[in-house]
């Protein structure tokens, strides 16, 4: 609006580096990044944080309070609550990251195609999106997982076998959001002059889509990544809570909450509170980071 609000060109920094500079200064960002670094470290190198094997449970110690070496005491099965909480981070985080990557790739690719070509390509994909979005996400996930999570998938084994069904389900219902977002920003970017310029130079569709449109259409999605990781961690916990996620003896925060929920008013609030705090703090950190990135990338929303 006002003349001055357009900063003078020569001093302007790039969108990303500007955002980065902006982010560096915020205390919430610093705190959440530190939290997330710790959480990621926990998720990928849990053994750094506890020497106790989370699978080593002694039923005789059920719900026992903290003792030396077991700072948070024991859960219902006599497993060390602290090491359970530490090892519970991995599957949730890995799942969230995998789902985000898949939805970004699939949703992004389809979104670019639909937004770029418009017409029937768009019509078809938009109908497909309609189909997915008209089945409530949680209901759909429950439906799929309840029916198929026990089905042995070929070619996948080990740790991933546990999370793959949930990953696929969440991705199946998650890509539509990314697709819609990307599609909208591609449609916006498509009519920009720099796209016309590339086209008038004779650039092929692929080049225009992936070199010109996609990088510019990513901004709104990028700020959503932390938010959706947070959301996926919640979603995974919800599924675990409903008994549809990862199976014991593997552990996730959702399973811990599910097991602990009943004890909250039953004399052992610790069993619910501990995993809840881990979960909430992690999601909170993602949410705060996502908010900050969005603010930094789109200052007018501040």
């Amino acid at each position: 609006m006002s003349d001055v609000s357009t900063p003078k060109p020569s001093k302007q920094r790039s969108l990303w580096s500007d955002a980065f500079h902006d982010l560096r200064k915020r205390p919430t960002v610093i705190v959440s990044v530190v939290v997330l670094l710790v959480v990621f470290a926990i998720a990928f190198f849990p053994s750094l944080f506890t020497s106790v094997d989370y699978k080593q449970c002694d039923i005789a110690l059920t719900k026992a309070g903290p003792v030396s070496g077991h700072p948070l005491g024991f859960d219902e099965f006599g497993c060390d609550l602290y090491s359970q909480a530490i090892y519970g981070a991995g599957p949730s985080i890995q799942l969230a990251l995998m789902v985000v990557v898949i939805t970004l790739l699939v949703g992004g690719f389809i979104g670019v195609l639909a937004g770029f070509y418009g017409r029937w390509v768009d019509a078809i994909f938009s109908r497909i999106v309609d189909i997915f979005s008209s089945v409530p996400f949680l209901l759909g996930s429950i439906l799929l997982l309840a029916m198929f999570r026990d089905v042995d998938l070929p070619l996948i084994s080990g740790q991933f076998e546990l999370i793959i069904p949930a990953v696929l389900t969440l991705a199946l219902f998650g890509w539509t959001n990314t697709m819609r977002l990307i599609r909208a920003s591609v449609m916006e970017a498509r009519s920009q002059d720099y796209v016309h310029a590339a086209r008038s130079l004779g650039a092929a569709d692929g080049r225009i889509m992936f070199r010109h449109i996609l990088p510019n259409a990513m901004a709104p999605v990028v700020s959503l990544i932390p938010l959706s990781i947070g959301g996926l961690i919640s979603a995974e916990a919800t599924l675990s809570f409903l008994g549809l996620g990862i199976k014991p003896p593997s552990i996730t925060w959702g399973i811990m909450i599910s097991n602990g929920a009943g004890w909250f008013t039953g004399g052992y609030p610790r069993l619910l509170i501990v995993p809840s705090i881990f979960l909430i703090v992690t999601v909170l950190a993602f949410v705060l980071l996502g908010d900050a990135i969005r603010d930094a990338l789109d200052p007018k929303l501040r």
Binding site: C57, I59, C79, D150, L242, P248, P249
Partner: protein, 546 residues
């Protein structure tokens, strides 16, 4: 031909339900002083006696219908419509005398013919009644069943049943029924208290579906309105009832279908009069309501089943080692806050035929012995144990606890295989479970035979017709002898000998019997509460409101 019987527990509800609430939940109405008893209930599957197969339906059916007999607290038969105990000279032909003057709530009279018609209806193959197998030892049962379907599920149908009536049931006169069995069986009367033998009115069978929604009973209570599915069932006192009348007017069941057992919270909120605390609420409940809590062992048993058909688990040493590795009391303490009893037998205490300590050798915790046994067995080192369970419910927790202990005491890794109930049943039946599985048994009738014959007896020598792939010739022989014994006492002696064989060979590792703790709301006269250990529930008819 499979000889296995009942397990009335159905899916999720059963595993959670038995342990947690068994049959009884109630509470008192909000102090309005009204003559109402408010109870919670899971959604029943069916309310027509021939087709009632699970505890929820049984609970309602027992209130709305009355049969020939019910059970005393010691498991013996208590005549209701019948006059005295069934009599037989050869344990093959049984005679039952009836009281006269009983009617259905629609006025239809009840006599020997009523029972015959009801039973004929029950067993007739095309009617697909789940209670029909109770009759399978009665002469002529096979003729009432449809022939095999020539093309499986294809369009062709199996042959029509040869007979519409059960030839083994005879109406001698309006107050006398005579039942003939294929072979002598001294335990047979124990079946007669079961809901499958309850009578149904002609009007009910004529419109069986309507009767399911609004039963025409003959019991102490009658339906008010219809069965409001998944919402409520409302009963009121039937004042023309010939038996023991309730002292209050109305009994309301609120039906709970939630994903967790949510009856405790409403009990605390005062909308239910009787409820069982969920395990996690048990300790606080005990503190708060200790003097109004009824704790009792339930007749259902829970075990870790072994796939004896599997090469790895064929070796009894493996099974023995696993059994010795499990700390039964620990599990009970942790998961049921102590409400349960470790099983050191195959038969629970309150069941006729129980003998103490039959499984003292292997039904205990002895990690050192377990490890030694496993090491000396054919167990392949490094093998991961797959533990199978149907998903949902408390069973998953128990199995995890078992897994934890196998890991701790035997040093084996384990993996949970939680699968859908239908898949689990199918795989179990098809011998496709590749590791130990959680299995429970709720008796159909109060006799030790019921805990063994239906489960481990095998017609085929490889055990392929029971879930465990278990076959033991000595066991088979002893069971046969027990069935043919002339007196109950002799039969039980044989059964106990058979049980001893099971405790050595362990087709399953007995784990525990459930223990219910039921809290009685303060609007109920606590002294009037009578809990029947055989039926596993509180006699609601006897309850008196303050």
């Amino acid at each position: 031909m499979r000889t296995k019987r009942v397990m009335s527990a159905i899916a999720v509800a059963a595993i959670a339900g038995l342990v947690v609430s068994a049959c009884g939940s109630g509470g008192d109405d909000a102090g309005s002083g009204s003559q109402e008893l408010n109870l919670g209930l899971g959604e029943p599957k069916n309310l027509v006696p021939p087709n009632v197969g699970e505890s929820e339906g049984g609970e309602v059916t027992r209130l709305v219908y009355s049969g020939l007999y019910t059970y005393n607290n010691d498991g013996s038969l208590k005549p209701v419509i019948a006059e005295g105990q069934p009599t037989s000279t050869d344990n093959k032909v049984w005679t039952i005398k009836l009281k006269s003057g009983w009617t259905f709530q629609n006025g239809e009279a009840i006599d020997a013919n009523t029972f015959k018609k009801a039973w004929d209806y029950t067993v007739y193959g095309p009617n697909a009644n789940s209670g029909s197998y109770f009759f399978n030892k009665i002469t002529g049962f096979a003729d009432t069943q449809s022939g095999a379907d020539p093309d499986g599920d294809g369009p062709q149908k199996g042959a029509e049943p040869k007979a519409k009536e059960l030839s083994g049931v005879k109406v001698v006169d309006p107050t006398t029924i005579q039942i003939t069995l294929d072979t002598p069986w001294v335990v047979f009367p124990a079946l007669l208290g079961y809901t499958a033998f309850y009578p149904t009115a002609d009007a009910c069978r004529a419109q069986i579906e309507a009767c399911n929604e609004a039963p025409i009973g003959n019991g102490p209570f009658k339906f008010v309105g219809k069965w409001e599915h998944k919402t409520s069932i409302k009963l009121e006192k039937w004042s023309d009832y010939k038996g023991e009348q309730p002292s209050y007017q109305k009994l309301n069941f609120t039906i709970f279908t939630g994903s967790n057992n949510s009856q405790w919270a409403p009990f605390e909120a005062g909308s239910l009069d009787i409820a069982a605390p969920t395990p996690d609420k048990y300790e606080s409940a005990k503190q708060k309501y200790g003097d109004r809590m009824i704790e009792a062992d339930s007749p259902s048993t829970w075990s870790l089943g072994f796939p004896s058909y599997d090469n790895i688990y064929k070796d009894p040493k493996v099974r023995q080692a696993f059994s010795l590795a499990v700390d039964r009391q620990g599990i009970i303490d942790a998961i049921f806050t102590g409400r349960g009893k470790p099983l050191a037998t195959f038969i629970p205490t309150m069941i006729p035929g129980y003998t103490e300590g039959t499984c003292a050798t292997y039904c205990k915790t002895d990690p050192a012995a377990a490890k030694a046994l496993l090491d000396s067995s054919t167990w392949p080192k490094g093998k991961k144990v797959e533990l199978w369970i149907n998903s949902g419910g408390t069973g998953e927790k128990i199995l995890k606890a078992i897994g934890d202990q196998l890991a701790k005491n035997l040093g084996v890794e384990y993996e949970m295989k939680n699968i859908e109930w239908n898949d689990f049943l199918q795989k179990k039946q098809d011998h496709k479970l590749t590791g130990p599985f959680f299995t429970g048994w709720q008796p159909d009738y109060a006799d030790s035979e019921n805990y063994m014959g239906p489960l481990y007896y095998s017609g085929a020598k490889d055990g392929s017709d029971n879930d465990f792939g278990y076959y033991n010739a000595d066991f088979q022989k002893l069971m046969d002898e027990g069935n043919a014994a002339p007196t109950i006492a002799e039969a039980h002696a044989k059964y106990t000998a058979a049980e001893k064989i099971l405790t050595e060979t362990l087709p399953v590792a007995p784990l525990y019997t459930g223990r219910t703790s039921t809290v009685i709301g303060d609007k109920i006269d606590f002294k009037s509460v009578d809990r029947n250990p055989i039926l596993g529930g509180i006699d609601f008819v006897k309850i008196k409101l303050k």
